[in-house]
Symmetry: C2
Subunit: 242 residues, 2 copies
């Protein structure tokens, strides 16, 4: 039986108990991992997470497409912010995208040492679950949170993934964080678009006029992307591998 | 309006957003803060949290009573483990107690810099709430967790405290962690003794034969203790101050 553990913040990743044979599932529903999926669906060939804006600016000078947001807002020099719906309406075939966000990139930095990383969101829940079940490894779900604090929307996603993995018969959750995520998801899933309005970052994005993105971020299974980590960023797994 | 924030782990305390005029409520339901209350109810005049066992041994040599547990088990040289019911059945009038636990002491260490600390558990929920409402300061609820990971039972307590403080009309929660704690509490409170059986540390203590303690730790309002921090440890507030 494979285990499932949930970390509610990148700052808690170092305290996880799963140490062998695991895949880290990075989650940043609002909006980095949702946006990664959208970028791949629009033809991007690679997403390169970048921590700082200086490094991102160097990528821009080398000719990469760049995306960056701080506190929910697009950074001026970047080609894109953090909006998945803007990616979806762009034609990005064959392009490589350097990407810096407040929270999502930090989670990737934390997880890099594990080697196996996949980026997940409600939009690719089904296809990521299918791939994880095929891998038969332990799973650590790493919620990006908000500046290292707990995020409701990432937790609901963690619960949704715990539910599917456990229903497959090959996985069992091993910590209170994963059990609570599952409970919260099961209490919310029939009314997801309403329940998530209680999340702080949802309200922050409403104030920034991002209602179109918010609807998109909680629509399940609209994407076929499975962004997996290789040494130089995320690549989209070919469908034949899923 | 005073704010309420919840930290799910001592490792997340540094990321709290409340920085002015606040009281830290330390929570370690299983079992440190429950045991602090029991020790005060049995006549202890001071509880001195101690991190390491070497430091605790020095206190023993100086004539203090000592309490220590590691991984749920009493440390050999200590007079007591972490069992509130053992404290309740002891006569400790006028004694000072040096206390080292796996998780609770660490939370105290994190919070010391704030100056204002109170130790809380289900057993003293009512009297601690009354005191907090009288103080009219912001509240940061610091869950001790388990080795820096999330604990279900501490979170349920946080939700219970959020509920009472908000019902007083003078407080509002400001983060997703406090909102989720409240939801979990409201879904669990009518069946608390059953629901908490899902907590990992509850199951760990069942295996160690601590059923009597477990019953005690989830019985509300059996204690009148309000353990507040002064520079040298916790003292029990005189009833006239509450």
């Amino acid at each position: 039986m494979n285990t499932i553990e949930v970390c509610f913040s990148p700052a808690l990743f170092q305290y996880k108990t799963t140490n062998d044979n695991y895949i880290v599932v990075i989650v940043d529903i609002l909006r980095a991992t949702t946006a990664f999926c959208a970028a791949f669906d629009s033809g991007v060939t690679r997403v390169i997470p970048v921590s700082g804006l200086e490094e991102l600016f160097e990528y821009k000078n080398k000719g990469y497409l760049t995306a960056a947001e701080r506190d929910g807002k697009k950074v001026d020099f970047a080609d894109f912010g953090n909006s998945p719906t803007v990616f979806l309406h762009s034609s990005l075939s064959g392009k490589e995208l350097a990407y810096s966000t407040t929270n999502g990139t930090q989670a990737v930095e934390m997880a890099k040492s594990s080697g196996n990383i996949v980026a997940a969101a409600f939009v690719n829940l089904k296809v990521v679950s299918k791939w994880l079940i095929s891998q038969q490894k332990n799973v650590v779900i790493l919620c990006s949170g908000w500046k290292n604090t707990f995020s409701f929307e990432d937790t609901l996603f963690a619960g949704a993934l715990v539910e599917i993995l456990e229903q497959s018969g090959g996985f069992a959750h091993i910590c209170d964080a994963s059990g609570v995520s599952l409970s919260l998801w099961q209490a919310s899933k029939n009314n997801l678009q309403e329940v998530v309005k209680n999340a702080n970052h949802y309200q922050r994005l409403v104030k920034l006029g991002q209602q179109t993105d918010l609807l998109h971020c909680f629509q399940l299974n609209s994407s076929e992307a499975v962004p997996v980590w290789d040494s130089r960023g995320f690549k989209n797994l070919p469908k034949s591998n899923i």
